[in-house]
């Protein structure tokens, strides 16, 4: 990789200032597990001159219930979520999602904010040295459409891009109705991700997530990740379901589209009903009614529709 500078601001404002003054060639780095790899592979649109680390800014870590919310610092390590007794007991799907993320080593480095803001794993986008000038890089072609789509979107294209969001924490955050708190505003979690190409989020370049707020939760929740490997793997499809004490459900799939996919059809299916295996299966079927495979020229992603159904069924049954 090329040499680069790394700044260690001690306040969020200082970090934002660096970013604002260098709008094109400065990137935020949390744990570094995403951006450093991208730099090594030379896949960023512009190679960063500098990284702005959030590591020395106090107050960006921690997990605590405060008032009506659970507050999670954006720089909290993913492993801390996986190990948190509070999350395991009350925000189960989030602890489960964290425990299925990457590997223990990566989780000890990767942060919650970084996991939610990571770039897509599309192998055309990630191909070394920007060999494929895909639409996410300003080109006019989504190479997956004529290529290998086995891990790509089943809910259509986003501005001609078939990539998917790979985050494990994202569906759990959506199910728990989280809010991202930045140095500029509060963003309902479903609005965090962008359909825009080439960006992954709706954040401004100088906008920094400082924490996530989750309304205190007293219901049941469940996360499931279908993957090729048990560890160090991104999801084929993952999903989470949270059913609050009043019986209202929020269900979300991920790795099925460019942004996490809220499954309102599934939520409606189970609303006010006792959860049974057949009801959960019915909800799964409802969730993928609008799904459509992209055949490509390799392994079709048609199977992902079936897995998405299965994941929905599992996370609903997990809340029983």
């Amino acid at each position: 990789m090329k040499n680069f500078k790394q700044y260690y601001p001690t306040t969020v404002d200082e970090a934002a200032k660096y970013l604002k003054e260098n709008p094109k060639d400065t990137y935020i780095v949390g744990g570094g597990t995403d951006v450093i790899g991208a730099m090594k592979d030379f896949i960023l649109p512009t190679y960063p001159v500098a990284l702005v680390s959030l590591d020395k800014i106090p107050g960006l870590t921690g997990i605590k219930e405060e008032g009506d919310y659970l507050i999670i610092g954006a720089m909290t390590k993913v492993e801390d979520l996986a190990m948190s007794d509070l999350l395991k007991s009350k925000y189960t799907c989030l602890a489960e999602a964290a425990s299925r993320t990457a590997s223990p080593h990566l989780r000890e480095s990767g942060t919650v904010g970084g996991n939610l803001c990571q770039m897509t794993r599309c192998w055309y986008f990630r191909h070394n040295n920007n060999q494929f000038d895909c639409v996410r890089k300003g080109g006019s072609t989504c190479y997956a459409l004529t290529g290998e789509t086995r891990f790509h979107s089943i809910f259509g294209l986003t501005k001609m891009c078939a990539a998917v969001n790979p985050s494990d924490l994202a569906p759990a955050m959506v199910a728990l109705n989280a809010v991202a708190v930045t140095n500029k505003k509060e963003i309902p979690i479903e609005k965090l991700w962008s359909f825009a190409v080439p960006g992954s989020t709706t954040l401004d370049h100088d906008e920094i997530i400082t924490s996530f707020k989750i309304p205190k939760f007293t219901g049941k929740s469940c996360f499931y990740k279908a993957s090729v490997r048990r560890t160090i793997d991104f999801p084929i499809v993952n999903g989470a379901c949270a059913i609050d004490a009043s019986g209202n459900a929020r269900i979300c799939l991920n790795a099925v589209a460019m942004t996490p996919h809220r499954c309102t059809e599934a939520e409606e299916t189970i609303k006010g009903k006792s959860i049974t295996e057949s009801l959960a299966a019915e909800a799964g079927a409802a969730a993928v009614q609008k799904a459509k495979a992209i055949p490509g020229t390799g392994t079709s992603n048609e199977y992902k529709i079936e897995i998405a159904k299965g994941v929905i069924k599992k996370v609903i049954l997990g809340c029983k």
Binding site: K2, Q131, Y143, I236, E302
Partner: protein, 803 residues
């Protein structure tokens, strides 16, 4: 019988701490990648980014301006005009491998024939990072050319022809003279069978996935060059390097530190990732009068590495309801680049596990091996994958077709060259070898350890409370008993009575330092602690393994045994010259050596420590050597029956030892995920030399084999012919969390081919295991999936089709 032999051993069969364990565990072991000489330059070679492409125009001006770039060597650089590298066919060492003749390979061509082929330009810089940055700054205008990825497509009439005019090719010009084999009357046997059916088979193209990347550092000492390389063949690398540089071989010294994973891939010095990068490092070091390290990064390694060939095809099976296999007809298509080398190896391996291990009398093999835009094929992680896979799939198919226990099908069809198992063990009996039915013993042990009888059930019949289907699988084959024709091994006696095993460094991570030391201690009669295997460089006089790995312990045990006999005689000879009272009136045959003491067999209590004898061997205390002797093994003498077909040398190798494996899985019908909950490996290793090593090799082999069956594969974009997963994230090797438990059971029949009847383990387990997953998944879900890897997409679609 095994116990009788085992009782005689003092050092064999016991567990000792690995001699290389502490330094490897503490991270102090030195690998080639650790070696960066002072003032070293670094070099990186470009790889073709497309399936088949030619450079129309190259602009290196931006790269030249990057600070730290020292030199740029382009394909059109006058300094390398007409430079060629040795090909596989230009040297006597490999001349026997094939009758195909390929021209010398251009050193730095302007045309690449597959994604990842080294070509175009070399960047020389002050650091690896600068090399990478400068390479990224090289601008190339490419002319993309037609290509083909599938070997079946490659032999079609309208396929692009890769090497027009090459006389040794057949068909449309892309097909390599492959393998046709026929035994018995297949058509007649099919007609006489209760059932005849055809199954598709496919094995993915896989990478060796070594932890350490290929890399070489070269430094000149006057007119001589020293090479520090990550290679499995130091001697051969010195040979090719000398030829490429126009040197005498005695001017080249190849030093091989520890190797971070080789698996056979680093045993092919003809490939650019060996001889090519060595030539670059040596050339740059010479021109710039500085050491030079030429390196390959992970992505380029995935793309440029020789691969285990992609194979697909079908097997037609004819069998009776009792499980007797009457006929097998195999049709394979295998892919290869740089046609010729070893591909016939993969072909004959497609059927020979039937001829070697079964009583199936009617066998036909048709292999079409064709040039494609995939990397060169090579036999790392075992050349016998296809043959073993085919045997495993057929055993499984027959069992499932007739609802039989696959262990019963195995026993029924066990044999040799179309004859039953009695014929096989009559051969053993005739030659004074043990006659224990190895397969029966392995199955009995495995069934008990695994609990097979209580777990085996009809296909798709057991659904667990967690919603998953439960399945069990079984596989069998011969245990590894291959042996190289020639090895040389030296033993040197030191002044204190300790002994060094002399041979070139060839570290495969298999605990060879410990195992060979145990064998030497046993054979010489000195304590284990008094033996060490300190490997030398390519100028060491003894080439301990050639190649190692597959045939390591069998070959080495015989070599060490012979050398030890000579060493003992030399020690006894010397002892008798000392006029010691303990040996009064004795001759050599009267003496014995045990636990480090020499004594008369008739008076074992009057003994002399070996150090007292060894010390007298040195006329001067400063002289660094003592008694030395060289033991040579030329041929493993199992030529007990003449084979009329098969191997190029016409030889034969009846395999008396067997192995079998049992696996338990759960398959999630909603997600297609496989959960491997338990695997029991049972291997007849003949004699256990080092129990820990054997078990470690079994576990490692199980992991490698499961990877191939479960998740590993190169994924290509078929439109551009580009590899999409050249990294450890998307190329998915299995991890320790992918299966819950593994147990290894070791059988000792004393009949596996090496000294005392010891045999190999590790590679064989890895080779057998893939087919077992197909067997277990079918038992779980009731659907046959014989095209691997068995990823969730295949299971989901198979279940969907079943509905």
């Amino acid at each position: 019988m095994a116990d009788e032999y085992k009782d005689d051993f003092l050092y064999v069969g016991k567990d000792y701490r690995r001699k290389d364990g502490p330094e490897k565990a503490m991270g102090t072991a030195i690998y080639a990648s650790d070696i960066t000489l002072p003032n070293s330059l670094f070099a990186k070679v470009m790889t073709c980014p497309w399936a088949h492409a030619k450079i129309k125009k190259m602009d290196t001006s931006k790269a030249e301006k990057i600070e730290g770039v020292v030199d740029i060597i382009r394909y059109d650089d006058p300094r390398i005009k007409d430079t060629k590298l040795m090909s596989s066919w230009n040297h006597p060492f490999t001349a026997y491998l094939t009758e195909n003749v390929e021209e010398l390979k251009d050193f730095l061509p302007s045309e690449g024939f597959y994604d990842g082929e080294e070509m175009g330009v070399i960047i020389v810089a002050e650091s690896e990072d600068i090399c990478e940055e400068a390479m990224n700054a090289v601008e190339v205008e490419w002319e993309q050319l037609p290509f083909v990825l599938d070997p079946e497509d490659s032999i079609k009439k309208d396929a692009p022809i890769y090497y027009p005019g090459r006389e040794t090719m057949i068909g449309n010009g892309n097909e390599i003279p492959g393998c046709e084999f026929s035994m018995g009357d297949v058509d007649k046997a099919f007609k006489e069978s209760d059932e005849v059916w055809t199954v598709p088979v496919a094995e993915p193209m896989i990478n060796w996935v070594g932890a350490e990347m290929p890399q070489v550092t070269c430094n000149w000492e006057g007119e001589d060059v020293v090479v520090y390389a990550h290679t499995q063949q130091p001697y051969d690398l010195s040979l090719y390097t000398a030829a490429n540089l126009g040197l005498k071989q005695c001017q080249v010294k190849v030093i091989t530190p520890y190797s971070g994973g080789t698996f056979g891939e680093r045993a092919f010095v003809q490939h650019f990732n060996d001889q090519g990068i060595t030539y670059i490092a040596a050339m740059v070091a010479k021109q710039h009068k500085r050491p030079c390290k030429c390196f390959i990064n992970r992505a380029d390694q995935f793309r440029s590495a020789r691969s285990q060939c992609y194979m697909h095809g079908e097997i037609k099976i004819g069998a009776n309801k009792n499980g007797k296999i009457n006929a097998v007809s195999i049709k394979n298509f295998t892919s290869h680049q740089r046609a010729g080398l070893w591909i016939t190896g993969s072909a004959y391996s497609g059927y020979d596990h039937f001829t070697d291990n079964t009583c199936v009398q009617n066998i036909k093999m048709e292999d079409h091996c064709a040039v494609t835009s995939q990397p060169p094929g090579w036999w790392f992680r075992c050349e016998q994958n296809i043959g073993s896979y085919n045997l495993g799939i057929v055993n499984s198919e027959v069992a499932h077709k007739f609802g039989l226990d696959p262990t019963d099908v195995a026993i029924l069809n066990n044999g040799y060259e179309g004859h039953d198992v009695d014929y096989l063990y009559n051969i053993a009996k005739e030659h004074g070898l043990p006659t224990r039915d190895s397969l029966k013993a392995c199955i009995e042990t495995g069934k008990k350890a695994f609990g097979w009888d209580s777990k085996f059930h009809a296909d798709g019949a057991k659904k667990l409370p967690n919603g998953r289907y439960h399945g069990v699988g079984f596989i069998w084959d011969h245990a590894w008993n291959d042996n190289v024709n020639t090895i040389t091994v030296g033993l040197s006696l030191n002044q204190d009575g300790s002994v060094n095993i002399l041979g070139q460094r060839d570290d495969l991570g298999t605990n060879d330092k410990t195992t060979y030391s145990q064998i030497a201690a046993e054979c010489i009669g000195i304590p284990y602690e008094m033996v060490n295997y300190r490997c030398g460089d390519s100028t060491a006089p003894f080439q301990l393994k050639n190649p190692g790995g597959s045939m390591g312990v069998i070959s080495q045990s015989r070599g060490i045994m012979r050398a030890a006999k000579k060493l003992r005689t030399a020690i006894f000879d010397k002892a008798l010259t000392l006029n010691l009272p303990e040996f009064k009136d004795a001759v050599v045959d009267d003496l014995d050596l045990k636990e480090g003491y020499v004594f008369k067999k008739s008076a074992p209590n009057a003994k002399v420590h070996i150090s007292d004898i060894a010390a007298t061997c040195l006329p001067y205390a400063t002289q660094p050597w003592g008694i030395s002797c060289k033991g040579v093994i030329m041929v493993y003498d199992t030529n007990v029956t003449k084979r009329k077909w098969g191997y190029p040398d016409g030889g034969t190798r009846p395999r008396f030892a067997r192995q079998c494996h049992f696996i338990e899985v759960e398959v999630d019908p909603d997600t297609g995920e496989i959960f491997m909950t338990n695997i029991n490996n049972v291997v007849d290793v003949g004699v256990v030399i080092s129990p820990k090593s054997c078990r470690g090799q079994a576990y490692g082999g199980a992991m490698q084999g499961l990877g191939r069956a479960y998740s590993e594969e190169y994924i290509y974009d078929k439109t551009y012919g580009v590899i999409l997963n050249p990294d450890l994230q998307e190329y998915k090797i299995v991890t320790m969390l992918d299966f819950e438990t593994a147990e290894a059971e070791l059988e000792e029949s004393h009949n596996a081919g090496g000294e005392w009847g010891c045999g190999g383990i590790g590679e064989d387990v890895a080779t057998l295991i893939p087919a077992i997953l197909s067997d277990a998944v079918r038992n779980a879900i009731g659907v046959s999936i014989t095209e691997q890897p068995i990823t969730p997409d295949k299971i989901i679609m198979a279940l969907k089709d079943k509905k």
